[in-house]
């Protein structure tokens, strides 16, 4: 969901209705969930590339593939050790981290009509 193309429920000059606030919250929740999932994907991708693909060949070897599988599992485990629910269960990870945390906090600030968080 592109925050810049879909109309903000706060745009209407008649102010917020219950439905608009609800819609905004849902939209934000979805975007946040998506952003967390993308960030997690990117982190794992970069860690496991570093660990497992030491000399890129003409295809992924069997040992590289099994290293990658183990690496993904271990990183997810490490995330759980730190008391965090690994955000990989979101469907539709695109592999492009379009929203980073600063952008998310900016969006939250923009969505807040009173200007104070």
């Amino acid at each position: 969901m592109d925050p810049f193309s879909s109309p903000s429920p706060l745009d209407s000059s008649s102010g917020q209705s219950a439905a608009s606030a609800e819609a905004l919250m849902d939209q934000l929740k979805n975007q946040l969930a998506q952003a967390y999932a993308e960030e997690f994907f990117e982190t794992i991708r970069s860690k496991c590339f570093a660990k497992c693909i030491t000399k890129p060949g003409t295809s992924l070897s069997g040992s590289e593939s099994s290293c990658i599988s183990r690496c993904v599992d271990r990183y997810i485990e490490a995330t759980e050790l730190d008391g965090q629910e690994p955000p990989y269960k979101t469907a539709s990870i695109t592999g492009f981290a379009t929203l980073t945390l600063p952008s998310i906090l900016y969006l939250i600030a923009c969505a807040n009509p009173r200007g104070k968080l």
């Binding site: 946040l32 982190t43 660990k51 690496c71 990183y75 490490a78 008391g83 965090q84 906090l105 807040n112």
Partner: protein, 74 residues
């Protein structure tokens, strides 16, 4: 105005959650780099798990220490 308060609460909550998530993500990342020195195995060795746990706690201790230092310098 009822909705505005609810939205405020929601936004504040999400902001907190985002901050926690970011901290934990960063911590997991640096501790992985520090503790998983070789190729990932099919499970963590006991030294790897110990390292990961210690690392997380020391990272938090260190963050607190640096913040206090900054505060004392203001």
């Amino acid at each position: 105005m009822e909705n505005s308060a609810e939205l405020q609460r929601f936004l504040e909550q999400e902001k907190q959650k985002a901050m926690v998530s970011e901290m934990v993500g960063k911590l997991t990342s640096v501790c992985w780099d520090k503790c998983i020195t070789g190729t990932p195995g099919s499970k963590f060795s006991s030294s790897e798990s110990t390292c990961l746990t210690n690392c997380a706690q020391r990272y938090m201790d260190m963050s607190m220490m640096i913040m206090k230092r900054f505060q004392s310098m203001q």
